[in-house]
Symmetry: C2
Subunit: 102 residues, 2 copies
DNA sequence: AATACATATAGACAATTATCTATGTGACGT
DNA sequence: ACGTCACATAGATAATTGTCTATATGTATT
């Protein structure tokens, strides 16, 4: 996983409104109009956030007629979790040579 | 965990340079001057990123004489992981009533 | 085909963020 | 005390992002 991709993934979680949207989706799949009712944003702004969430693969969309249904992607969330583990796991193989005293 | 705090935590991970800094810290505690050698940023810019990382509690700092040593905070990382789990766990108690056909 | 509806896209604008240069602060070493 | 070193802070600026209004697109329904 390169730095760029990791940054795109976690962008999903670094805005308050996107966090709210994700929380709303915890109760299951919802269409944009439902999300719109529950969040204080205009329709294009919601659409913008949904794009960022989908690009991060944290959310997936499913089109059905006029509606677009969004849901949390188990696969995407798993990848985010793995990414977080990978980033935070100490690498004990590395010698910790320091230029300055400890 | 409120939305605002969650957003602050994940801001740590939504910038490429901060991801690089975190990766550098995987090999253990490092002072700012060491990080500076390994990353293509000016000293004040690095300092700016370290503040964001510390505010997110993903990194902790330890002052010793002239130097500031930074390391990954196990506690902070644990909290981020828990936050991610909490955000992504489906809430099965909720009925998934929909205004529009599925 | 005409209309209505759900959502996306375009474009403008304001807020936030990332970056830099310049300078301040505090801790040594001489 | 003075200079030097490590780092933080201030302030400017450019890039990015979040938000809005207006409009386009695609899908039913009549």
């Amino acid at each position: 996983m390169d730095e760029r991709r990791a940054a795109v993934i976690f962008k999903a979680f670094c805005d308050e409104n996107r966090i709210r949207i994700i929380k709303l989706l915890r109760s299951g799949e919802k269409c944009a109009c439902e999300l719109l009712e529950e969040i204080n944003l205009t329709q294009p702004t919601l659409s913008h956030h949904m794009k960022i969430l989908c690009d991060a693969e944290i959310v997936v969309s499913r089109k059905k007629g006029k509606w677009t249904h969004y849901s949390i992607s188990e696969k995407g969330v798993k990848q985010a979790k793995e990414c977080l583990v990978q980033l935070s796991t100490l690498d004990i193989r590395c010698e910790n040579k320091s230029c300055c005293e400890k």
